[in-house]
Symmetry: C2
Subunit: 177 residues, 2 copies
C-alpha cells in the first residue's frame, strides 16, 4: 500500500472512528467526486449530490451528458471526499476520503432508488426523472479518515464493512436527524 | 477533449464567468485535491488549505509524510475543486474545478511563500515551519466552471491566463475582503 500513510501515524480503528466516519458520510448531502479523464488520465473533480442505499453504499444521480459520467463509463475508479470544514483551520475539521468503484444501476432498480435518493435530496425531484440521468452506486474499496491533526485512520476490509452496515441504518437527513 | 462537456452545453467565457471563477478561487480557503495513487492509479481525494502566489497560482503546504505528497512526487497531475454549497440543492451553487500540474517549490522561495501563505491561512503559523512541510504550486492546465444548472464554462488558454491575472491581484481574505 504505497500511498498509505506510514503506520506510525495511523491509529487503530475503534468504534469512535467508525462513529465519526458514519457521521461524516451519513450527514453528507454533497461530496467531491474524483474521476480519471478518458485519454489523459488526469484526475478531474466535480461536486455531486449524495444519497445512500439500504446497504450503506453511496448513491449518486448523474447526467449521461456530464464529464464525470463519461469518465466513469470508461473507468469506474473514483474517489469521494465528504466532511465540511468549519471556522478556523480547514484542516482541523474531520473528513473522510473513499476510494470506490462506480457501478451504474439497472432500470429495474430505478423506482426504488428514486424514492431513496429523493429522501436524501428533496430538490432532486426537479430532475430525477430526466431521461439522461441515471443512478450510480459507489462501492468503497478503502477509506482514509482524518479527524484533524494527528488523528488518522485507514479503513479496509471488516472495518469498511462495519462502516457500511452502520450507514445502511442511518436515516436520511430529512427523516428526523 | 473527450471529457469536455458537449459544446452545446457550454457558454462562451465572458467577463462575468471570469469574475465568478476569480471569486470562487480567490475566496477559497480550502479545496478538495485529487491525486493519482502510486501503483494503483486510483483517484484519491483529500482536503488542502489553499493560498495563492502573486501570479495567481494556487499554493498548498503539505507534509512529505502525507499520502497526497507521496503521490504528487510520483505524478504531478492533480485536480482541485473549490466553491462552497449553501442551502438547498448542492448542485445549484457554483464551483470551479481545475486540472493542474503540481510543482514543489525550492528552498530559495520558502521565506517569501511562507509570508504569502500565512496571510491566507493564519492558523498555518502553527506548522508552517515544520521540516517535513513544503510548498507546492499548482499550475492550472484547464478549468471547468459550473455556475449552477445550465451554466457551464470551460476555461483554457487565454481565458485561463486572464483568470490567473485577476487572481494575482486578489487580496487574501484576511487583508480586507
Amino acid at each position: 500500500m504505497p500511498t498509505q500513510e506510514p503506520s506510525r501515524f495511523l491509529q487503530v480503528t475503534d468504534s469512535n472512528a467508525l462513529e465519526l466516519a458514519c457521521r461524516l458520510l451519513g450527514s453528507a448531502r454533497h461530496a467531491s467526486l474524483g474521476v480519471l479523464q478518458p485519454g489523459s488520465g488526469m484526475p478531474a473533480l466535480s461536486r455531486v449530490a449524495l444519497g445512500h442505499d439500504a446497504l450503506g453504499l453511496p448513491l449518486i444521480l448523474i447526467s449521461g451528458l456530464s464529464a464525470h459520467c463519461v469518465a466513469l463509463q470508461q473507468d469506474p475508479r473514483c474517489g469521494l471526499l465528504v466532511g465540511e470544514p468549519g471556522a478556523g483551520d480547514p484542516l482541523a475539521h474531520p473528513r473522510l476520503s473513499l476510494e470506490c468503484l462506480a457501478e451504474r444501476t439497472g432500470d429495474s432498480e430505478r423506482s426504488l432508488l428514486r424514492d431513496i435518493f429523493v429522501a436524501w435530496q428533496p430538490k432532486a425531484r426537479l430532475y430525477v426523472d430526466f431521461a439522461d440521468f441515471s443512478f450510480w452506486r459507489l462501492r468503497p474499496q478503502a477509506a482514509s479518515l482524518n479527524g484533524g491533526f494527528g488523528k488518522a485512520w485507514r479503513l479496509e476490509g471488516q472495518d469498511l464493512q462495519a462502516l457500511l452496515q452502520r450507514l445502511g441504518k442511518h436515516p436520511p437527513p430529512s427523516a428526523g436527524q
